[in-house]
């Protein structure tokens, strides 16, 4: 059994706090030999914003030819999607929002064209993880990011109840998360727990 994990490092800053959190999760997942991991750094992935042209409502695909082309298939093939993003100005950063908005293709497939996004037998066997970091120490700093993440997962057939969140505030400068008392352990626990849950579901 191969468990496919597709991870997005959404930050424009490579190897910063949100990507470090992601790497901890992925490293713990990778301890399992059945897990195959692909990590994509959005800052290098050439994913443009959605044009809002609604052509996908008729064509069942996006008219834009950019880095998103290969990602649409990968999003469907993966058993687990991990999205990591920093909070900028109280929301997810623009690069990550571009990826989320480009999932409009799946929304059109599901609600306009009434076609399946994943085969019936894979429903309920896909898990999502949202990782975020924020410089602000406010507890509510992640609130506005979550609805867009839920929307993204919903259209790619990851149920609301199947999304796990690990959000760490009060980490601003690069590397600040290394000094966080629990982030690393929490990330590793989440990574291992997610793989264990996926194995259970895929075996069922």
């Amino acid at each position: 059994m191969v468990i496919k994990v597709l991870a997005f490092a959404g930050s424009p800053r490579r190897h910063g706090n949100s990507e470090t959190l992601l790497d901890w999760v992925l490293a713990s997942m990778g301890e399992d030999k059945d897990v195959s991991i692909e990590k994509i750094a959005l800052t290098e992935a050439n994913v443009n914003p959605c044009h809002g042209c609604n052509a996908c409502e008729k064509l069942n695909k996006c008219v834009q030819r950019d880095g998103m082309g290969i990602l649409h298939d990968k999003l469907i093939e993966a058993d687990c999607i991990v999205l990591a993003a920093p909070i900028f100005c109280m929301g997810i950063n623009a690069q990550t929002k571009s990826l989320i908005d480009r999932a409009q293709v799946f929304r059109s497939r599901k609600y306009v064209l009434r076609l399946p996004v994943v085969p019936e037998e894979r429903k309920g066997k896909r898990l999502g993880i949202f990782l975020a970091t924020a410089g602000q120490n406010w507890d509510h700093v992640f609130d506005a990011a979550k609805p867009s993440v839920k929307c993204f997962c919903h259209v790619i057939d990851i149920r609301d109840a199947d999304i796990s969140y690990l959000m760490v505030n009060n980490v601003d400068e690069k590397g600040a998360i290394l000094a966080h008392p629990t982030a690393k352990q929490d990330a590793e626990k989440l990574g291992r727990g997610t793989i264990a849950e996926l194995k259970k579901r895929l075996a069922a």
Binding site: P49, G52, M90, A94, K97, S98, A145, P147, S148
Partner: protein
């Protein structure tokens, strides 16, 4: 003094529901005697914030593109209408791209302490958020507000009002909405009148 109204169109889609609402807001503002100007983000050349934090030291953005003159224009306006349709429960990536780039103003305010907006300045600079959403949910705009609040705070505008209309998919567009265009017109007229009155009292 003529009130300057700047409208930022954050939709990738020209002349759609959100921009139509902005146009109606402009009509009201013009009737009250304002100068209006529209900036269409999709026609500008700019990149999202790189998160490099150089502005935390210098107060300047190292990326020299269309955002820099746009921020200058924003700072010179009396009334700012920031507009975006709701995509995936949030504002568009184009508008978020602009908002994130204003990080250098945040740095000037809170790190370098070289930028300060007095309460009087903020009162005289009114910001409005104009948005439409296809979904009918009442909470469909909620996740957009915090970033808009952050942007108005950074640029010295009072977050004065919203002009928002949901359920566009069911209405078949903003032109078929019973009240939205009229509300936008009235709010455009009123905000300019309020600003004019403040100027005459000063």
């Amino acid at each position: 003094m003529v009130i300057k109204v700047l409208g930022i169109s954050g939709s990738p889609h020209r002349h759609g529901n959100t921009e139509t609402l902005l146009d109606s807001f402009f009509d009201g503002a013009r009737e009250a005697g304002a100068d209006v100007e529209k900036i269409v983000l999709k026609d500008l050349e700019y990149v999202p914030c790189k998160g490099c934090n150089v502005c935390h030291k210098t107060g300047e953005c190292i990326v020299r593109d269309d955002v820099i003159p746009l921020i200058d224009k924003i700072l010179a306006a009396d009334c700012l209408a920031v507009t975006s349709p709701i995509y995936s429960m949030g504002i568009t990536a184009e508008l978020k791209g602009l908002i994130d780039r204003a990080q250098y103003l945040w740095a000037r305010k809170f790190i370098l302490k070289t930028l300060y907006f007095s309460n009087d300045h903020i009162k005289r600079h009114k910001g409005l958020f104009i948005s439409t959403a296809g979904l009918s949910w009442d909470n469909v705009f909620d996740a957009a507000f915090p970033a808009i609040t952050a942007f108005f705070n950074g640029t010295g505008f009072e977050y004065y009002d919203n002009i928002i209309a949901n359920n566009m998919d069911a209405f078949g567009g903003v032109k078929k909405h019973p009240t939205a265009l009229k509300e936008a017109f009235e709010k455009g007229k009123t905000v300019v009148e309020v600003l004019e009155k403040m100027n005459t009292l000063a």
